[in-house]
């Protein structure tokens, strides 16, 4: 009796795990399908660039404040922590390099992507989810207007264009924040701060790799936000869950991708 109950519990557990796995794989496939359809129907986003430009305003320009303020504080904290460690080894002049490399290689693309997922990603998911709930996407379909070409693709390209620019701004403002703490506050030599940075930050190995990362994160974060909105059940609860999933999945994807990309970049 006990043995058969145990067997039943294990069977139920395995069935549950199997169902969850199938659902995950199905969602992955549906997401990939949406990605390819978005690429196929992207012509409209460039032929009528004002559609994309409008989305760049909402996703990019409207995210500027949070990006700039965060970058400023991140740069300042980096300078403080960096100085604390570097001075023990008598190399506090290298603080400029430390701040710049940390920002350009890692923190710029990663923190921008995380902030982008929280600010613009959730807005995209909620907007598309609500469009679905209020039958706006169905209305578009019934008017013979393809929602992927008209709604999804312009938002996708807006994200892909905006995020690398936001990441570059993040790094620039972060360096400025680091400078303000390191030079006027702590008293590191201004010339040493800039010249060490100029000598040790490589365009190919550091800046280009940072840009590549931010483009990859942009594709991932924007696509996750779009898919979650497009796939959200048309209820208030469905949209709310989809918005939460956007932040969680985007954040984990960005951090995972960052490790993979960094590994490849170190090898190459």
């Amino acid at each position: 009796m006990i043995k058969s109950n145990l067997l039943n519990s294990i069977t139920r557990l395995l069935i549950g795990v199997g169902h969850r796995m199938i659902a995950r794989v199905w969602r992955l496939g549906a997401g990939a399908r949406l990605f390819f359809l978005t690429i196929i129907y992207s012509g409209e986003s460039f032929r009528r660039f004002h559609l994309t430009l409008r989305e760049i305003y909402f996703t990019g320009v409207m995210s500027l404040l949070i990006i700039i303020v965060s970058a400023f504080f991140v740069g300042m904290v980096l300078a403080l922590q960096g100085y604390n460690t570097l001075q023990k080894y008598g190399s506090s002049e290298a603080i400029g390099v430390l701040v710049a490399l940390s920002l350009v290689r890692e923190l710029g693309p990663v923190v921008t992507a995380l902030l982008f997922a929280g600010r613009a990603g959730t807005a995209i998911t909620a907007e598309i989810g609500l469009m679905k709930t209020t039958e706006q996407l169905s209305a578009m379909e019934m008017m013979a207007v393809n929602p992927i070409a008209r709604v999804v693709a312009p938002r996708f390209w807006a994200g892909v264009i905006s995020m690398p620019i936001l990441a570059a701004l993040f790094s620039m403002v972060g360096v400025l924040g680091g400078y303000l703490v390191a030079v006027p506050l702590i008293g590191v030599d201004s010339g040493a701060f800039w010249s060490q940075m100029q000598a040790n930050v490589d365009v190919r190995a550091d800046i280009v790799n940072g840009v590549i990362k931010s483009v990859v994160f942009a594709v991932a974060c924007t696509m996750i936000a779009l898919f979650e909105g497009f796939d959200a059940p048309p209820t208030a609860e469905g949209v709310s869950h989809a918005t939460t999933r956007t932040v969680v999945i985007s954040s984990l994807t960005v951090l995972g991708l960052d490790f993979v990309l960094t590994s490849f970049m170190m090898v190459v």
Partner: protein, 267 residues
């Protein structure tokens, strides 16, 4: 050219193992206002989605202008949809666009008309629904009745041959209901279109419909002119038309024994 612009033949549709429609046959003659009525959950709106090609039937076929809808590829379905206009239950206006831009949307997306002509056409459509003066308002600034009328102006933006209405009277005050009711009939006659109304508002629908289908339990339970159906002695039609609480459609959802459920510790 057949006299029916839309024909439904032996249509069955279901999902998750449950059949919603079981062999439905309907015909929608050109120039007429035809209503599909039935209780909530009887699959009326699903029929509109099948006509529009948003879902595929399990069996049977829907023909629009002689073409089998589910056999068309994406471009073919879009070509058919250009002949259709649809009014959604809550209007489905694009909330980021003004009233003017909502009505202009299909013209801008599907035609190469110059902006000056689009402006004139939009104002004409809005004038037809009595809302020319509201062209600058956003959807959030419109009342339910006004939103429904703007959606109607958008549905007729490209002068479709088929106009589908999903619960056009739901949630409207009596004045708005009268206005929408009158608009459906007058626009149908002015455009020479065919209107398909899905509704459960008997009074308003019977006032404007030329022919009515009653759907119940997945089949066409009754059909005829509003006058015929008012006189019908069929129990279901009688209960529905006269709004009686009990009849073939029971008041109670199927349940177990009342007394034993009350005595149980847990449900």
């Amino acid at each position: 050219m057949t006299s029916n612009i839309v024909e439904i033949d032996n249509l069955s549709f279901g999902y998750k193992g449950r059949l919603l429609h079981k062999g439905i046959n309907m015909a929608f003659p050109r120039g007429k206002v035809v209503a599909i009525m039935g209780g909530s959950g009887s699959g009326k709106t699903t029929l509109l989605r099948l006509i529009g090609g948003q879902i595929k039937p399990t069996q049977g076929e829907v023909r629009v202008d002689g073409k089998v809808v589910h056999e068309q590829d994406r471009d073919g379905i879009y070509q058919l949809r250009r002949k259709m206009g649809m009014l959604f239950q809550h209007g489905a206006l694009f909330t980021d666009l003004s009233t003017f831009d909502n009505v202009a949307f299909p013209m801008r997306e599907l035609t190469d008309l110059p902006e000056s002509m689009i402006k004139d056409l939009v104002l004409m459509k809005l004038n037809a629904v009595g809302l020319r003066g509201a062209h600058a308002l956003m959807p959030t600034e419109l009342s339910g009745g006004m939103a429904r009328r703007v959606a109607l102006a958008r549905a007729i933006a490209l002068d479709p041959c088929i106009i589908m209405y999903d619960e056009p009277f739901a949630g409207l005050d009596p004045i708005s209901m009268g206005v929408v009711c009158d608009l459906i009939r007058s626009l149908n006659d002015a455009l020479g279109a065919t209107s398909i109304i899905v509704s459960h508002d008997v009074k308003e629908t019977f006032l404007i419909a030329d022919y009515v289908y009653f759907v119940a339990d997945g089949v066409v339970a009754a059909e005829g002119t509003p006058h015929d159906l008012m006189q019908s002695t069929l129990p279901f039609v009688h209960q529905f038309v006269h709004g009686e609480k009990d009849g073939p459609v029971p008041f109670h959802y199927p349940a177990g024994n009342y007394q034993s459920e009350l005595l149980k510790q847990r449900l």
